[in-house]
């Protein structure tokens, strides 16, 4: 797969997001408080949309938080 620095989209997996933007790891760690599971361990290959649906997260808020972390690159 090629790597790029385009926008973060719901169909990207957690792995893709973290690989491209390492600082987003902290965002996923923050969400573990809500999900009660280690997303970076148990949902690494799931898309953001799947993760949001599975763990009842607000997908728009997750995307916004990830984009915010990327902007501080």
């Amino acid at each position: 797969m090629s790597e790029g620095n385009g926008p973060i989209t719901p169909d990207m997996t957690i792995l893709e997001v973290v690989f491209r933007h390492r600082q987003t790891e902290a965002v996923f760690r923050r969400y573990e408080g809500e999900t009660q599971v280690c997303l970076l361990c148990q949902a690494l290959f799931d898309s953001l949309a799947e993760v949001a649906a599975k763990y009842g997260l607000d997908l728009d808020r997750l995307l916004q938080d990830l984009q915010e972390a990327v902007r501080t690159e």
């Binding site: 797969m1 090629s2 790597e3 989209t9 719901p10 169909d11 990207m12 997996t13 957690i14 792995l15 893709e16 973290v18 690989f19 390492r22 790891e25 280690c38 970076l40 361990c41 148990q42 690494l44 290959f45 799931d46 898309s47 949309a49 799947e50 649906a53």
Partner: protein, 201 residues
């Protein structure tokens, strides 16, 4: 082609996978052994290597785990005849972007797509991947008439790729029964790798 080793002991997820990916992305790795010390890292590194086309073996080394991936196409000892057959087989990707075939009568179109999916297996081993997108994702969710056929294709080694954005759009993520949820980058990559793309939209 290289054999590489990576020591990821003491590292929390996702670091072992990220480091494994960095090495695999270099593209000339025949065999890679990743040393990890926890089950989550073993599971994720194994899964990543498998998805990257490696055959995976796990061996205990004291309290640690050695995850070894060997690139499938380059496996030593593979019969020459098999290799020749593999290389002579075309890779056909079928892209289905609809839940009905053709225009004119929608009811007829729905029957035709069911017939089409049920008949796809006749392509034999050359059928390499089936991509479902837009309304085509409805074929892979609960209630679809072709779930058994799709499952049979997948069991026979056909990659069934289901567009995640489309499932999400139709709010069908939780209803998907068959195939791997995928994204546009994966779809485009597979189209590029295919020898022939047949598209129904």
């Amino acid at each position: 082609m290289q054999n590489r080793e990576l020591d990821c002991r003491g590292q929390a997820c996702p670091q072992p996978v990220l480091k494994t990916k960095e090495i695999i992305d270099q593209g000339d790795v025949l065999q890679l052994t990743v040393l990890v010390d926890n089950d989550a890292a073993r599971e994720n590194v194994s899964r990543f290597l498998e998805r990257s086309g490696y055959q995976v073996q796990v061996a205990a080394q004291g309290s640690d785990l050695a995850v070894t991936g060997i690139r499938k196409q380059e496996s030593p000892g593979q019969a020459a005849a098999d290799t020749r057959e593999e290389t002579e087989l075309r890779k056909i990707l079928v892209l289905v972007g609809t839940d009905r075939l053709g225009t004119g009568d929608d009811e007829l179109g729905k029957k035709l797509i069911v017939n089409f999916i049920n008949t796809l297996k006749e392509m034999g081993r050359e059928l390499w991947a089936l991509v479902l997108l837009n309304a085509g994702v409805r074929l892979a969710v609960a209630g679809s008439e072709v779930l058994a056929s799709l499952q049979e294709l997948e069991d026979n080694g056909v990659m069934v790729l289901v567009c995640g954005t489309c499932l999400n759009h139709f709010q069908l993520l939780e209803q998907k029964q068959v195939g791997e949820t995928t994204n546009m980058l994966d779809i485009v990559t597979h189209m590029q790798l295919a020898d022939q793309v047949i598209s129904f939209t």
